[in-house]
Point group: C2
Chain length 274, copies 2
């Protein structure tokens, strides 16, 4: 029997969904279908959604969980008339916060401090373009402007991490691939020359051999590039380099991009721009 959870908002739904997923993740034995419903910002949309909730309750044989950040009072009334176990984020926390802060809240629809601000917008654009211009070792002459330089073997997660750092935190992240071109005659991987002046900005990525082989074989099936031998050799060389040069590194296998990025920020002591 699967239960349903609705994350409902008259804004983006990001707050309701983020909190909802965190709370429900604490019940890992239950299978819960999760549905996000953003921009429920008028009576018509609220009524349609209330009908969907009603139908879901009948289908599931149990009332849905409803986690919301609806600000509009009329919308809120309609949703609260639908059958459900309600986790009302704003009304739970805003009243005590109003007391503590000795002021009334403005209940702006879906508005948060971080959204729509000019400095955030500009920093995001700049950081995303920095990450793109400096992706995969394409350029190295802007490394003095980089906040961090990610290194690792091909397809270990450098690009998504660089972009997440840019979009979410305004951090300027370059990335540079470790390849056989930088091996010694005896097969030992050396720190590429372009990275030497920036050693203090380097952060390594590593990955489980099987995961890497699977990712690479989606791109180039049955190639040497995706063979277990090749993947293992590259990863061992990369990790040996990190240890020898005292470069901090993280294994991306067990972590999401969110976790990799926030761990890097914490470990490298990076300053977020928002």
């Amino acid at each position: 029997m699967t239960r349903t959870a609705f994350f409902i908002s008259d804004g983006t739904g990001i707050t309701a969904e983020t909190l909802g997923r965190s709370l429900l993740a604490q019940f890992e034995n239950l299978e819960i279908r999760m549905v996000t419903k953003p921009y429920i910002d008028n009576i018509d949309k609220a009524q349609s959604l209330a009908e969907v909730i009603q139908a879901t309750a009948i289908r599931d044989g149990e009332q849905p969980i409803i986690i919301d950040t609806i600000v509009d009072e009329n919308v809120r009334k309609i949703i609260s008339s639908a059958p459900g176990f309600k986790v009302d984020i704003f009304s739970t926390f805003l009243a005590p916060l109003e007391d503590e802060l000795a002021t009334h809240s403005t209940y702006t629809v879906g508005r948060t401090h971080s959204i729509g601000r000019d400095d955030v917008y500009m920093n995001r654009i700049d950081s995303v373009h920095f990450a793109l211009d400096n992706d995969d070792g394409a350029r190295t002459h802007q490394y003095d402007k980089a906040d961090i330089i990610l290194i690792g073997v091909s397809r270990c997660g450098k690009t998504p991490t660089s972009l997440y750092l840019a979009l979410q935190f305004g951090i300027r992240a370059a990335n540079y691939p470790l390849t056989e071109d930088d091996q010694d005659e005896d097969g030992t991987l050396k720190l590429p020359r372009a990275l030497m002046p920036h050693r203090h900005k380097l952060f390594g990525l590593t990955i489980d051999v099987r995961r890497l082989a699977a990712i690479r074989s989606e791109r180039r099936p049955n190639s040497r590039y995706c063979s277990m031998d090749q993947c293992m050799q590259e990863i061992q060389q990369a990790e040996a380099l990190y240890r020898q040069m005292h470069i901090p590194y993280i294994d991306t296998t067990r972590f999401s991009v969110e976790e990799i990025s926030t761990r890097m920020i914490a470990e490298a002591g990076l300053n977020r721009r928002f």
Copy 2:
């Protein structure tokens, strides 16, 4: 007088920060300094942070707001000994949810359903590389695989939005620039030929003329490219094309990338992959 809010977690801090920013955004008259402290996952880190909170309370002359998703009981005890107005997300909501779901929660550290899952990881990598390969009209032969194709003038926000859609929702977004190359002899912008078979996937972006001129002049100061005349002409042509072809569009000026992306998903009825 500025007050301080701490968003504290033994995981990424994303839930505490997201909820905290949403709540505090409802008090827009107050200036609140916001500090996120992720990975507070042992006694030592907790004790250092408790000292920081103590010092902040003295400096501000008021107790900080503390919004946390700490799971570890020992860490939680230390933080709760520091002076602060506490908004305890888990203990507020998990007990009632445990009753409703008739089961105990597992209180896994920072674990959410969406994190570390293999399908999320693969979909993210694929979608990010799709967005990069299909950025700025670089290719058009993969448009049959695109979930959505963003169009708009240069620097109106296509690339950051495509990447956000990829990272956050696993949506495959291509983007294509509208330029003077696609103008008629009489100066009217026509739908580029490569986009014609995919009209139903198009979503337009537009932007305020002054904002566009400011963004462009950071890139190429004192150029025709960044002049108000040029920006206005391009934007008018683009909007005329959207209206004529019944292409849905959104003004990126007033919205964050989160809002633009989630509105597109809602309006275009896109299916998120996670």
